[in-house]
């Protein structure tokens, strides 16, 4: 595993993020605020996706299989 190359690449990606969002120019407390906000939003979105997407996908699949025959109706489980 090329850890050194991987670390350099990740550092480079972090620098790109800093440059594009102007956080390279911010004072430390502004950076803290900005990153806290970003990480909070990211975690919220990922958590929401984790909760809702599998349920939505299984409901959508169930809806389409209903058109092609009723083989799988018995295996539908109730999601609480």
């Amino acid at each position: 595993m090329d850890f050194k190359g991987m670390k350099n690449y990740l550092y480079w990606l972090y620098c790109q993020f800093e440059l594009i969002t102007c956080s390279y120019l911010m004072e430390p407390w502004e950076k803290l605020l900005f990153y806290t906000f970003n990480i909070t939003m990211l975690v919220t979105i990922l958590y929401t996706a984790y909760i809702f997407i599998p349920a939505h996908i299984s409901m959508a699949l169930q809806f389409f299989w209903h058109f092609f025959g009723n083989q799988h109706e018995n295996t539908v489980s109730v999601v609480k």
């Binding site: 620098c15 790109q16 440059l19 594009i20 969002t21 102007c22 956080s23 390279y24 900005f34």
Partner: protein, 516 residues
């Protein structure tokens, strides 16, 4: 890039200009960057207004709070919140002659660019890619400056008068005749300041009832002169001949706005090389348009005199045209001659008129004698009158440096604007975060560059502007190019989609193998 040459019979050589557009995601990310900056700007303004943060900016006094607010417009907001963060890249004090290398005074800031202090150290031998030193005449070589020191000891430095009172010296007469001979016109007049040449002489030439057709990207001095004159100003798209022709036809068909009378004079204001784009004016087409529609042409050769043309005589020589085609030839001595001041040249009637009617001649102090002598020696060197071929060598060296620098930058994959022959090279940076990072990192590598952002350029197209000089050696250019290569990879600046291969030596190798 087009197939063949448009208006092919007018141009004697190919006219290649590049204005490549970056991919769409770059514009999106630039706006994202500005958006984040604006949000934080509002946050900081809120904190300043509510006393949570110390106020370093100019604010109104308590008694004036009920008056019309002074600092609320976008320009002040931008200066306070975005410009202040990267302010350390501008107004850097230098402490040597601005030759190909120079010395910088080191400055540090303790409170994020609100105040600076000097550490006392100087950074030595920084490669200079920002000074307008096209022919390398900004030098301190004692042999070169012999005549200048002699004139300094003979005349002193002060003139203490205007041209019309007691400020016309024999040096000015000699200089004016030399400039006229250099350009191939009948007569010329020199002024103490290049900016003032434009802004004080355009009002003398045009007035109310005249029409000024000015290019979109003209310099502030031309815009100020046009506004001061009181004439009607119409703007055509940058270097776009169809736009200019449409405006000319409309002007002649419809005349003045309300009275429908014919315009007293129609004058076209263009520049030789535009300093923010690096583009060269389409002079043959403009001259043919002006002859067809009977308009006058004012050509501002601030950056092109000495820098383009086979012997350094500017865009008129570059296109192989005669100087009689241009009515008013204007230029400055600041860029290629290592001095200060400007000139206006043309027919004798024009120059005699300006001697009596120009504001600059009546009220402004004339050029001081050592500076005039520096221009005389530089011009004699260029024309070959000092007995050497040094002038011609400098012009050739500048051409070689320009072509090499531009070719290598294109190969590396940067987006460069402008004509292939112009020594002004703008390299596009686009994002506001990269402006500060680029300038600071180049200074760490001992290279001084000039970066430009909004409001001098459009908001999405901030750039770094390089000025190639004849005094740069191949090694200096290679140092700069290697640094740019490294920095371009680190900052991800190589947006061009048309770059040629950046490693042609690999193709050389395979060719050798096939020969075996």
């Amino acid at each position: 890039q087009k197939n063949g040459i448009s208006n092919g019979t007018l141009y004697k050589k190919t006219f290649i200009e590049h204005f490549e557009q970056a991919p769409m995601y770059v514009a999106v990310l630039t706006f994202l960057g500005f958006g984040v900056g604006t949000v934080f700007g509002y946050l900081r303004d809120f904190m300043r207004a509510w006393g949570l943060e110390k106020r370093n900016v100019a604010t109104e006094r308590e008694q004036q709070k009920d008056f019309v607010p002074l600092y609320q417009d976008f320009e002040n907001f931008y200066t306070r919140n975005l410009y202040m963060r990267i302010r350390d890249n501008w107004n850097r004090p230098i402490c040597s002659v601005p030759g190909p290398q120079f010395d910088l005074m080191e400055r540090v800031t303790d409170d994020y660019n609100w105040t600076f202090r000097f550490t006392g150290r100087t950074i030595k031998n920084v490669i200079n890619m920002g000074s307008y030193n096209y022919l390398g005449f900004a030098e301190t070589d004692v042999n070169a400056l012999k005549t200048v020191t002699r004139e300094l000891q003979k005349y002193g430095t002060g003139i203490c008068s205007t041209r019309q009172e007691m400020g016309t010296l024999d040096k000015h007469v000699e200089l004016e005749q030399l400039v006229a001979k250099f350009l191939g016109v009948e007569d010329s007049m020199v002024f103490g300041m290049g900016f003032a040449t434009n802004s004080m002489n355009i009002p003398a030439l045009v007035g109310k009832g005249c029409l000024i057709l000015s290019d979109e990207l003209n310099h502030t001095s031309l815009v100020l002169g046009a506004r001061l004159s009181g004439a009607t100003i119409r703007i055509f798209k940058h270097n776009n001949m169809q736009s200019l022709e449409k405006l000319l036809r409309e002007a002649i068909i419809y005349g003045q706005p309300r009275s429908r009378r014919a315009w007293r004079k129609i004058i076209i204001l263009v520049e030789g090389i535009y300093s923010m784009e690096g583009s060269i004016v389409r002079l043959p087409e403009i001259v043919s348009l002006k002859k067809k529609y009977k308009a006058y042409l004012y050509l501002d050769e601030a950056h092109s005199i000495g820098a383009v043309g086979a012997t350094g005589r500017g865009v008129v020589e570059y296109f192989g045209m005669s100087p009689d085609d241009v009515d008013v030839l204007m230029g400055t001595f600041t860029k290629s001659f290592g001095a200060a001041g400007g000139y206006i040249a043309g027919k004798k009637d024009l120059v005699d008129f300006l001697r009596t009617h120009s504001h600059s001649a009546v009220y402004a102090t004339s050029m001081c004698p050592p500076v005039a002598e520096q221009i005389i020696r530089a011009m004699k060197c260029l024309m070959g009158l000092d007995g050497t071929t040094q002038g011609l060598q400098r012009v050739r060296q500048l051409g070689k440096n320009t072509r090499y620098f531009r070719r290598r930058l294109h190969e590396m994959g940067f987006i460069i604007y402008g004509n292939d022959d112009s020594p002004v090279v703008p390299l596009l940076l686009y994002m506001p975060g990269k402006i500060g990072a680029f300038a600071r990192r180049m200074l760490e590598k001992n290279i001084g560059v000039v970066v430009v952002g909004f409001p001098a350029t459009p908001i999405t197209e901030s750039r770094a502007r390089f000025c190639v000089s004849a005094a740069h050696t191949r090694e200096m250019l290679d140092t700069v190019l290697n640094a740019l290569d490294e920095l371009g990879d680190f900052l991800h600046l190589k947006y061009s989609r048309y770059s040629k291969s950046s490693h042609p030596e690999l193709y050389e190798e395979t060719r050798l193998e096939l020969e075996d």
